[in-house]
Amino acid sequence: MARVVEVSGLGKTYALGEERVQALRGVDLALDAGEFVAVMGPSGSGKSTFMHVVGLLDTPTAGTYRFEGADVSTLRADDRADIRGRRLGFVFQAYNLLPRTSAVENVELPMVYAGVSEAERRTIALAKLDLIGISHLANHHPNQMSGGQQQRVAIARALVNDPGLILADEPTGALDTQTSKDIMSLFARLNEEQGITIMLVTHEPDVAAYARRIVTFRDGLITSDTRNERRAA
C-alpha cells in the first residue's frame, strides 16, 4: 500500500502576542492510500493545526513531513500551492463555494489553477458531479441549493484533480443530522468504492464513526490511534 502521508516528530510553534504557543509537540503518523481516518480532539488540541500542515496550508517548525514520498516540510509557498491544487482536495465546514457561480464552474476551479483546458474541465467537472449524484444541479448557483447540496458540490470540487488525499475540516458542522449522515455516507462510499484517501477532522464521535481509523489529539500530541471496528454505514 502506498504511503500518502508520513510525519515524524512534527512540531508547530507560533507566537501569539508575547506567548509562544506549541500547537504540535512532536506528532508521528503514517497514512496509506485508501485509508479513511478521523482526527478527533477537543478544540486547542492541535488537530486543526495538524490538518493545516498536512494540507500544506501551513509549514511545520520541527520534524519532517513526507507527502506521497517527497519531503514537503520546507517547500516554498508556490510549490505548496501547486501540490494543494494538484494532489490535495479540501472540504470545509462552510462549503466555501464562489457566490453567483454555477455548481459546475465551482467544481472546475481547481482545474483552472492546474492548467487544465477549458473543454476538458467541463467534461471532468460534470463527471464528478455525476459521481456525487448531483449532475442535475450543474447549473444551479450556491444560493439556489441546500446546505447538503452545496457540500456535495464542494466534495465534487475536492475530487476533481483526482487528489492523493482529501482533507475534510468539520464537513458536517453546518448541517442537520440527516444531511450529516448523507454526507458521511457519501465519504464512506467514495472511500470504499473509489479507494479515495480521506482525512476527516471533527470533534463529533457520530461523524468520526464513519471512518476506519480514529486518531485522537490532546495538547499537541496523538493520544490514541485505533481501528474503528464498528463503522457506521
Binding site: 494540507g55 500551492a81 494543494r84 491544487g85 479540501f90 476551479l109 492548467g115 484533480n161
Partner: protein, 405 residues
C-alpha cells in the same frame, strides 16, 4: 494561468457585480470623455485658426504705422501717419518680395439707388487680389491706369452686393456713391466668408488707393502696407529687410523707436496655436486630475472587494492558486475595469464631440493617437491604483482568509 484565462476570470468577477463595476468605471469614463472632447475642440479650433489665417493671404507681411505720443498720450500702433505709397514702391524692389499693396481704409456709407449700407472702403493696388489670394467673381479688378488716374472705379464684396442690390441685378456697370462721389462698379469679389476673428471679409468695397487718398482721407499716408513674400522661407528675411529699409527711409537711428511695425501672420498663427497649446495642457491637466480621482475610486472599490472576498481568496489559494496568481487576478480586474472605462469614455467623448459639432458647427477632430493614449493611460491608471489592493490580496494567509467572517 495564462493571460486569456486571467482576463476571463477578471471579466466574470466584474460582471458578477455589474452595477458596482459600472459606477466604479464612471470616474475614468468621465475623465477620458473630457479628454477626448477637449482635445477635439482644441484641435478643431487650431485647424480653423490656421485655415482662416491662410485665407488672409499667402506669406503675408503687414506693415503698420507705429505709435505716436501727443501731449503725453500714446496712440497705440497705427496712430502715427508715417507710411506712404512710396515706402510701398521701395519695398516692392526688395529681394524676396512678390508684391506690395498699400491699404487705405475708411468706414463710411455707400449708396446705390434707394439702398445704402455702411461698409469698409479699402483703397488698394492692383496686386491686392494676388496678395490676398482672393479671386474675382465677375468683371475686372483695379489696374495700373486706375491707380495712376485715381479713377472712380469700385470692386464690391458679396455682402455689399447683397445689401445694395437686393433684387439680384448685376452690379457691374452700376454706380455707387461714396462720400458724394460716384464710383463705377467694374468687378465683384468672390465670397471669402468670415475671418479668423469673426469679421465678415465680404463686407468691403475695394477702390484704387490713390482715389481713396484723394477723395476719402485727403492724406498722403496709408493705413498699412501689405507685403507678400515670394516663399514661406522668405517671410523672415523679408520682414527684416523691410524693417531696415523703412528705418533708413524714415531716418530712424537706434535707440529711437521705429515709427512702424512689421508683422507676419505666421507669428500670429504661432501665437494662436501657442494659446491653443496652453489651453490644451490646462484641459489635459484637468482631465488627468479626474482620471486620478477615477483611479482612486478603483483602488477604493478594489480594497473593498479584497476584504469582501477574503474567503474566496483563501479558497482559491487552498485549491492551488499561487500568491502571484491572486495578485495577477486582482490586478487584471483593476486594469480591465479601468480599460473598459477608458473605452466607454472614448465612445462617450466621440458622441459628445459629434453632438457639440452638430450644435455649434465648430470644426472638430479627434486625433487617433489621443484615442490610443487615453485608453493606454486608463490601463496605466488601473495598474497603478490596482497594484496595492492586489498585493493586499496576494499577501493573505490562506488559513486566516478561510476563517474570515
Amino acid at each position: 494561468m495564462n493571460l486569456k484565462a486571467t482576463l476571463a476570470l477578471a471579466l466574470s468577477a466584474l460582471v458578477r457585480n455589474k452595477a458596482r463595476s459600472l459606477l466604479t468605471m464612471l470616474g475614468i469614463v468621465i475623465g477620458v470623455a473630457a479628454v477626448i472632447v477637449t482635445v477635439a475642440i482644441g484641435v478643431g479650433a487650431r485647424t480653423s485658426v490656421q485655415q482662416s489665417i491662410n485665407s488672409l493671404g499667402s506669406n503675408l507681411i503687414v506693415v503698420q504705422p507705429g505709435s505716436v505720443t501727443q501731449t503725453g498720450a500714446r496712440s497705440g500702433f497705427g496712430g502715427a501717419s508715417t507710411l506712404t505709397p512710396d515706402d510701398g514702391l521701395a519695398i516692392a524692389k526688395l529681394p524676396g518680395v512678390a508684391a506690395v499693396s498699400p491699404m487705405v481704409s475708411v468706414r463710411t456709407q455707400v449708396v446705390a439707388g434707394d439702398n445704402n449700407w455702411q461698409t469698409t472702403i479699402a483703397g488698394v493696388a492692383p496686386t491686392y487680389t494676388f496678395i490676398r489670394s482672393w479671386p474675382l467673381a465677375s468683371g475686372r479688378f483695379i489696374n495700373e491706369n486706375d491707380v495712376a488716374s485715381a479713377a472712380k472705379v469700385a470692386v464690391l464684396g458679396q455682402t455689399v452686393i447683397a445689401q445694395l442690390f437686393p433684387n439680384g441685378d448685376s452690379p457691374l456697370g452700376q454706380t455707387v456713391i461714396v462720400k458724394g462721389a460716384p464710383f463705377t462698379v467694374i468687378g465683384t469679389l468672390s465670397a471669402l466668408g468670415q475671418s479668423g476673428l469673426g469679421q465678415d471679409q465680404d463686407d468691403t468695397v475695394l477702390i484704387p488707393y490713390t482715389s481713396a487718398m484723394e477723395r476719402l482721407t485727403g492724406l498722403t499716408t496709408v493705413n498699412a502696407l501689405m507685403v507678400s513674400a515670394s516663399e514661406q522661407e522668405q517671410i523672415d528675411p523679408v520682414q527684416q529687410s523691410v524693417t531696415r529699409l523703412l528705418e533708413q527711409r524714415h531716418r530712424i537711428v537706434p535707440p529711437e523707436m521705429d515709427d512702424f511695425q512689421v508683422r507676419n501672420l505666421q507669428s500670429i498663427a504661432q501665437a494662436a496655436s501657442q494659446t491653443g497649446t496652453v489651453m490644451e495642457l490646462l484641459l489635459a491637466g484637468v482631465a488627468a486630475v479626474s482620471l486620478i480621482v477615477g483611479g482612486i475610486g478603483i483602488m477604493n472599490i478594489m480594497l473593498v472587494s479584497v476584504t469582501e472576498r477574503t474567503r474566496e481568496i483563501g479558497l482559491r489559494m487552498s485549491v492551488g492558486a499561487r500568491a502571484s496568481t491572486i495578485l495577477r487576478q486582482f490586478l487584471a480586474e483593476a486594469i480591465v475595469l479601468a480599460t473598459i472605462g477608458g473605452l466607454i469614455g472614448v465612445i462617450a467623448g466621440g458622441i459628445g464631440t459629434l453632438a457639440i459639432g452638430l450644435a455649434t458647427h465648430w470644426p472638430m477632430a479627434i486625433p487617433p493617437q489621443w484615442i490610443l493614449a487615453s485608453v493606454a493611460f486608463s490601463a496605466m491608471v488601473g495598474i497603478f491604483f490596482g497594484y496595492y489592493p492586489a498585493r493586499q490580496a496576494a499577501a493573505l494567509n490562506p488559513i486566516e482568509a478561510l476563517r474570515f467572517e
